[in-house]
Symmetry: C2
Subunit: 257 residues, 2 copies
Amino acid sequence: MGTVSKALGLIELLRESGHPLGLSEIARLAGFDKATARRLLLELAANGYIEQDEDSRGYALGPALQMLGRARENRFPLNRAIQPAVRALAEQTGETVHATEYCAGSLASIFAVESGKANRVILEHGQKLPLHATASGYAFLAASTEAFVESVCRREFEAFTPTTPTDSKALMDIVTATRERGYSISNQSMEEGVSSVAAAIRGAGGKPVGTMAIAMPASRVTPEIVRAHGELVRKSAAQVSARLFGKSTVQPFRKAS
Amino acid sequence: MGTVSKALGLIELLRESGHPLGLSEIARLAGFDKATARRLLLELAANGYIEQDEDSRGYALGPALQMLGRARENRFPLNRAIQPAVRALAEQTGETVHATEYCAGSLASIFAVESGKANRVILEHGQKLPLHATASGYAFLAASTEAFVESVCRREFEAFTPTTPTDSKALMDIVTATRERGYSISNQSMEEGVSSVAAAIRGAGGKPVGTMAIAMPASRVTPEIVRAHGELVRKSAAQVSARLFGKSTVQPFRKAS
DNA sequence: ATCCCCTGTTTCATTATTTGAACCACCGGT
DNA sequence: ACCGGTGGTTCAAATAATGAAACAGGGGAT
């Protein structure tokens, strides 16, 4: 693994932690030597990606990340396109609705509206959903190229619950079924008691960039509700995709020919 | 310079560019070999910090930055605290008002409301303001420790206009005057025709974290206006600081003793 | 169609950077 | 005073980064 990835791993560590961490703790969590961790941290701090509190000596995420995040959002306003749709779905269904964006091999939760019901599904912000064990993952794979699906199949199949697909064949079947159905279904494949339906969001060129999903306690799930909510999320995702599609969200860096 | 900083420099390059860049162009701009640039870019892409468009082969800022930016904003909601104050000041003065945050050695513009007047000052988002040649910089230095001011004095004094302070002594005098006055004044020290007044925002522990500034065309500036607007920005910054101050925006990572 | 120039990509010997054990100084609790 | 923990520093050894060179492919101009 390259030095850069090690440094970025430290940032991820700080993000997951949610509160400042000390040098020793970071080194321990990352499996690096103290000296190594420190050198990387200082270099990140010099660039504003993290910052060290002078008093507590703790390291936390830095201001450069906000700057860059905003810059990215300016050129790829996925959030602005998705948020109204998520809110509308939450309103219609009364369940927890969330959106994810594909990022470095998994789907990261970028926005969620929680159900108002007492028994509801709660999603942490930034939580990473595996492609092989969630409704969002199935939907994303179903919208991806065969080559991408195969590359995911070659990875490990971590089993979270008894219903998590554990081999390439099972996953491929789910993907095929999702493609025919138009939306994906997860029956407690990631966490016991949580069922979801999801559909992919497509960006410029038709490539999937993320998903929208409705998550509900398994106790409220019936075949009719799955079908109704599934159709809702499919249509909503299609509408969002239509807005992103075509209008090249990423400007070409070559002159148009 | 470490490998990590080189990689992060590439990200900064992409941010400044504003649109996707090709490999050769990136290598040229950064002064790296094509092979080196490519290796760094691939590693960044693997972590989601940048992404490569499959078709055009161009590189652009990636989704991880949005994720991380949001995470940082959650724990340090500077924007939420500053935006209402900036809007209010813009309303009161009719001039362009903007806020900056300290990031890696300079002040980066994080929010701005433009004046409604025809002759107005315009600020690019993310623009970096040097500490030694802007009202925001003076205000930030005036709120900083002597050690920090001295470290800035040891840097190069790039002269942007004839009124840019060019040596340590001149800058120190400005900082001293700013401390006594309570707000800073820049008379076209960064760009001809633009004058500004500014005051520092202080965070937990009283340390400066950024600034608020009012920027106006030099043609509209009179001593009375400078004084009036200066007092406004001073008071407004103090109010924002009061909200951030004390309520430890960064949680301690040690147990409270 | 041919040439030319500019892409992106890969390789590999050279080089410079990263690594981590050992060490120091410091703090708080026992 | 001791101990266990912290953050920080050093330097020879090991490792990873580097970049010239060569390759493949595409587009434009002649």
